[in-house]
Symmetry: D2
């Protein structure tokens, strides 16, 4: 019989650890209410951006200068009920979805951050990660600042508030703020009269602009424009500030340097496949990765399958290029929820089969090429390969539509430290052997340009190369800086 230590003590609450890297946020804002109430547009937009963050979410609206907001832990569909949306009347909004990291998963950290400063109320929603947040906090603390959250938005809010004292306008304050903050940020700021969007000069995280009736929308991805019925206008340029107010739209490009480096992993995994980021279709990039893999790592096989959902696009591309038929070989259960209960006694193999189940009739006796988007810790690919073998697959050839991860990310994703990355500890051959696959092939680093249809490198691939396009302080590179510089409370 079971005792009460039945649950795996290494995984508190019996909850499965994350197997893929995570984006840390998504933002959505709307100026204008002629088509629909901004809170409803935000609700639709956040639903479309939910893949970028499932921990908490929030909407702040501005009703003729008076800001109200609703935010809480949970999915968009859990946090917002019709009565909540109805209460959030206004003519513009900013909103946010946040990813659940293990550390500071607290209501205080939900966004947008709504705060009062000298010129009234500001609401700020932020996607990205500042690399000098620690230094700024220290400096602000030396001037008497207090911090109630551990989110970068609070740091940004302080600098904007400080700059606003010497600036003639909120946009000028944002313009003065940008040189002071380093790293990745796609930012929405709502003041009593204006909606402002800003993107860091590298353009690490995406940010696009659309039109909804007479109003303007800003969102992390174009799929959020589609969801609220907005027309895509253009991407916010890296370094650009876009201001919308009663007088119309204005662009400030002082910080546009041209040395842009949007995150390549948005194309590989983070973004929704139907989004178009900086002019490149995510879906086409993924299919192209599959085609490239078919040329780089060809193999004789009977069918091509993808690990759902993220491996499917590359699988279609591989099939197209190789002529090997595409098949659905694995079925994913969409009802698992965020807190899947996993008893320790249950074999690891079974645990995967609750989420992913092979289509025996499709794979039995077949030589299979299986596409996946990436390998981080290497904890699941062996389970999937052996699951297919048990289902009767004669051969399993693993193709990964990205190069091996060898460096952590400091720009707003949770790609972990080197000692957790399997590709830092093993060669490709060893990873292949560990996975149990008959062969393994990663996308070549050189082909990332081609994947997104560019002639030359114009993106951040630091997680594959260690070439960090924006400075990362030494203390961050060396350790766990967050534990040194942020309040430790729950």
């Amino acid at each position: 019989m079971l005792n009460h230590s039945y649950w795996n003590s290494k995984e508190p609450n019996g909850i499965e650890p994350a197997e893929k890297p995570h984006e840390e946020c998504g933002v959505f804002g709307l100026y204008g209410d002629d088509v629909m109430p901004p809170a409803y547009a935000a609700y639709n937009g956040l639903l479309a951006l939910q893949h970028r963050g499932q921990e908490s979410c929030g909407i702040a609206v501005n009703d003729r200068g008076v800001v109200s907001y609703h935010k809480d832990m949970g999915l968009v569909s859990e946090v917002f009920h019709p009565k909540d949306l109805d209460k959030l009347s206004g003519q513009m909004c900013v909103s946010h979805v946040r990813y659940s990291t293990a550390g500071d998963s607290v209501p205080e950290n939900a966004q947008p951050l709504v705060m009062r400063y000298i010129k009234g109320t500001l609401a700020i929603a932020h996607n990205g990660n500042l690399t000098n947040a620690h230094e700024i906090r220290r400096e602000l603390e030396h001037r008497g600042a207090i911090f109630q959250t551990t989110i970068d938005s609070e740091v940004i809010a302080y600098i904007i508030a400080r700059e606003r004292m010497h600036s003639g306008s909120i946009e000028e304050a944002v313009r003065r703020t940008m040189p002071q903050i380093q790293g990745a940020y796609s930012l929405l700021v709502m003041s009593p009269q204006k909606l402002i969007a800003a993107r860091d000069p590298n353009g690490f995280r995406p940010l696009c602009m659309g039109r909804l009736g007479k109003g303007y929308v800003f969102a992390s991805e174009t799929c959020a424009l589609d969801a609220c019925g907005a027309e895509f206008v253009r991407d916010v340029e890296p370094g650009e500030i876009v201001v919308v107010d009663p007088s119309g739209v204005k662009s400030i490009r002082d910080h546009c340097t041209g040395r842009i480096s949007p995150c390549i992993f948005e194309y590989i995994y983070f973004a929704r496949t139907d989004s178009v980021i900086d002019g490149v279709s995510v879906y086409e990039a993924r299919k192209e990765a599959g085609r490239l893999l078919a040329r780089q790592h060809p193999v004789e096989a009977d069918l091509v399958i993808g690990v759902p959902e993220s491996g499917i696009d590359a699988a279609i591309g591989y099939s197209e290029e190789s002529g090997i038929p595409y098949e659905k070989g694995i079925v994913k259960n969409n009802y698992i929820g965020r807190t899947f209960i996993k008893p320790t006694q249950q074999e690891r193999r079974n645990s995967v089969r609750i989420k992913l189940n092979p289509l025996v009739t499709a794979v039995k006796g077949k030589r299979i090429v299986m596409l996946d988007d990436s390998i981080v810790r290497g904890t699941t690919c062996d389970r999937i390969v052996s699951m297919l073998r048990e289902a009767g697959a004669k051969e399993v050839h693993l193709r990964i539509s990205s190069p091996p991860f060898t460096w952590p990310c400091y720009y707003g994703t949770d790609i972990p430290s080197k000692n957790e990355l399997i590709a830092c500890k093993m060669s490709v051959e060893e990873i292949g052997k560990l996975s149990g696959a008959d062969s393994i092939g990663f996308l070549e680093l050189d082909s990332l340009c081609q994947m997104i249809g560019k002639q030359e490198k114009c993106f951040c691939d630091a997680c594959f190369t260690g070439n960090y396009p924006a400075p990362v302080p030494k203390h961050i590179m060396e350790g766990k800086p967050e534990q040194r510089c942020t309040p430790v409370h729950r």
Copy 2:
């Protein structure tokens, strides 16, 4: 500005009506605890069966004759927490997921039904719909019975209790019960000592049997066996009773008539694609439907896409047969939740785009064949077709992997009455015109046999033909019998 009648009054709570027919339940039972605690097996099994019912769920366990249970409204991942599973210790279990119908969505109707009768405690989980429940209720009421729920399990429980008085065993009572109940049922009964599975003589709803260590599992679909790590043994035969107790497994086949008629729509839509029902792979049946459509309704086109998720398998089959490349043309948002908020003001078109978004880069300028599994009320296909056209599709050819619905179902699904079925009101041509597609093609009725690889008809296709293999009382055929024979309370 908006007033408080902003919500569509026809759709209370702003919740979208169902666009596809629904299965009404799924069952899972385990006898034996040598591999894992039965409650954990049930949890895994119910997660795998969640597509069969999302309203409520429950698990009843039997710990050396003492039954305890936990059931509630909500998804499996919402209703069960580790502490709940830990409390449910035992050596066997029965469990259930229930579909949310508009009518009696009340906690009382959650299953398993646990009740005390002359021989102790019984727990009953039931998938299907009795066609003579009304008659039996009336007859039982004439003998003094009282009813506290509106579920058929309560009717079955009464008859079993009555028959048990004249029977030497619980299985004998179940055997005597079966001739008295008509319609569709796949039934699990847990007595203090035994676990019993029974399937109606027509075999309308699926029920299979597996082995988990030394124990035995019964489940609506094989995907639930996979999820708990059980080996598939065989299907429970239509009309068969299988009894598991300390002495082993026993089969009672008195009611096996050979005139079986499992539901064909399980293959077309209800079941999970990785299940194998009565020897036929659901995935292969769906792909075959696609292949058949490619032969029955060929068209020149650039690519084949499926409406996610249910149209994708047939799309792969159509692509395979026609040689037209398969593409992912539409992306589905998995975060919508069960209570999507839809403002009336928002155009119908947008509402669909929150759930389904076209991959513009894939479909632009292309001639498209789009596969869907069925058309019930005809309320969404036009929106999807026009969404594709707006995304730039040159042509859209609609292919439906089932014949037109022309008759309601009385055997445990919610295919509605004739006046709601579009194919009862319009010809195929008219439906095509309404949809806005360039062409439309339904799977031919005659090819259903071939779809599941059979020589002759051995299934129920009443929803397409009106040939009901088990008697349906006239009063049910004519009206809304539930309002006459069941308690009206919430």
Copy 3:
């Protein structure tokens, strides 16, 4: 430091065990809606009856023959929100509050029980305890009955349903039911057309009748009439059935035997002090008990105090009779809630001081007479006495406004078995010594008549005498019958 076994393992969840006996239920019903909607009247009435049961509550309304209901675990103020009451439209209602016993604290047991039988829908609310429920269940099970709850209402429902088949009316069925059920019951039955109240021939539990506009109210206590603005009409007579329907009010007195025995402990502790039961003011009875104690157990003292809330009325009486000034000597914290968290490490003395705190300035240096209503297990009086001593009391004289408990109750309260009753194990002197009081005095058994102003005994005092006025089956007297005759599930 503390480990995780900090909580007292003997008291699961750190919840304090009950220190006073508990009533098991309260009922409220209204026929008529001219003054206010019945659900609102029930809400007010149940709030007034909440002291009779805090586990679960429910309201069933009848809207022109259609019954709807809402019930759940929790207090009235927690279970019902305005939207719930608004949904419960109708022209009559029955409602219920239930006490939380340790055993079957499950949602299924919440009342009213709403069920469908041959003549339509019935809703039943019941206060009391049948002594032959076990026998009836067995007999009904032999006829094929199934039981889904462990409440007596289900047993009563079955008999009414059976009798209804041979009766011309629901009231006739109730009339035929009464001789078959033994023990204590104050019963409300709502049929499609009628509201029926019935009280057992002994009249163990109270039941009164009032007028609200043109309608009629029934309630366990008159305080519920006051709360909804109804005028008191009269008590329902022991053995009487009162029927209200469109034709007016009708009384059936066949079972009125005159051998009545209402529960004396309602006056001592259970009922609310502002209620009048069977013509006797509860408050006056309690004050009279205090006066009697002053005569039976006089003592020289400086002040009289009562243990809040139940000891205060007797204290006022004692003061009045003795001339010793009444003082508030102990303050009660009303915010403790039902789930007070008690760490084991904390001394028992402190635990009591969170609930009850002495008024040091009032008691310091004083000789005190302290009134309490009863001593059951004897677990708290010593703590209160020593608390007063620590606050500086010079003497503490304990006066108990009831005789010692020496017998369990089988008629609907939870006065426990003899081996838990301290007065079965110790003499009055020993109890006094244990309590640490300078003197102790219980109300004399003979003065109970005088307490309620009667010439002769006309009540049940079985808990003090063992003279059970209605038969109690031997198996119940001897053991733990509930574990033998009821379903064991949670």
Copy 4:
């Protein structure tokens, strides 16, 4: 029949408006863990202080320098579960209960405020109201501060953080902070190493100190010391700062001016009757008020009653002085909850009778003196008087144990503006007439000294006299300052 505008539109949600003034907070802190874990002590202490605030509550603990906290909307018994307390391990704590005002009832405003500043983490709990918070906010905003809440604690935190930069210790920073903040504050500050208590120089709000084992406790009232088993040591002096750290206890008295003015209304109504504030027993003060009233406003009568709970102590005093017997004349329902649902249709009279019900047998035919603590808006006393008359009272003489309210309070209670105070609009005679009482008498202003046993005035009675002992800015006196100076969001 009822329509959906059944609810009174003037009282949203059907919730009764407050009829008594409210305290705005209670604080509790403990340094030391030798007797019990600080979180448990706080839990007990907050339960005892719950009458000071029922909107939200929180506990912050310090575990060797690391602060964790748990706070939420709701009662102490609702917000804290054993698992929450177990997680809050530490060696010291600060904690808080907050009153629910209509305005900013938001989770953000729950206390303690936990924040990070230059020297680490601070947790602050505050009872009182700063009169210059607006000015400080403006000044801080001019220096770049941002505000995320509308509570004074955030203002105090900023000043402490600023002063800490120029101070050698946290207590020095608190010392420098005090001259900058005006108005009422009883403050607890927990730094990584120290627990600090500070009380404003006027001593408006109470704050006492106790000993628990080797540790020290601070609490708003002595009843909280009793609840956690601590010994009372002394009151924190107005203007005093008490510091507890590993080296022991230290007192800083620089700001002790001797011009103290504790709130007289703490004795009349706010504090718990078993507390002793600044050396005066609350209970004795209340009884003395009753005695004084008996001398100031004698009347021939048969009995004295108090409006529960707050009028009872004065009634006992009046009875003692006058010789007229004390009686319980009105019974209070303790189960109403914080959100009593009041239908408009229901007469106002009934609404009161759900909360307060007369003891008919006690009051019938009697001449009654009824004691209440205060009259604010005058909205309920007429209902209680007429309720007694209907119950048969021959005469009702109203005695109020405080002078008439004629001025608002700016020091941390919600005594409202003059145009809501009935005594600003009517003479005592008119109030008496309005109430329907046969006579009315307020406590004379001059006797407040005597009430608390002092020779001369040493308290704040601004609400009766308009003599504000601490400066109140003109803009606050004139209007609704909160709407001008605080963020407007929910």
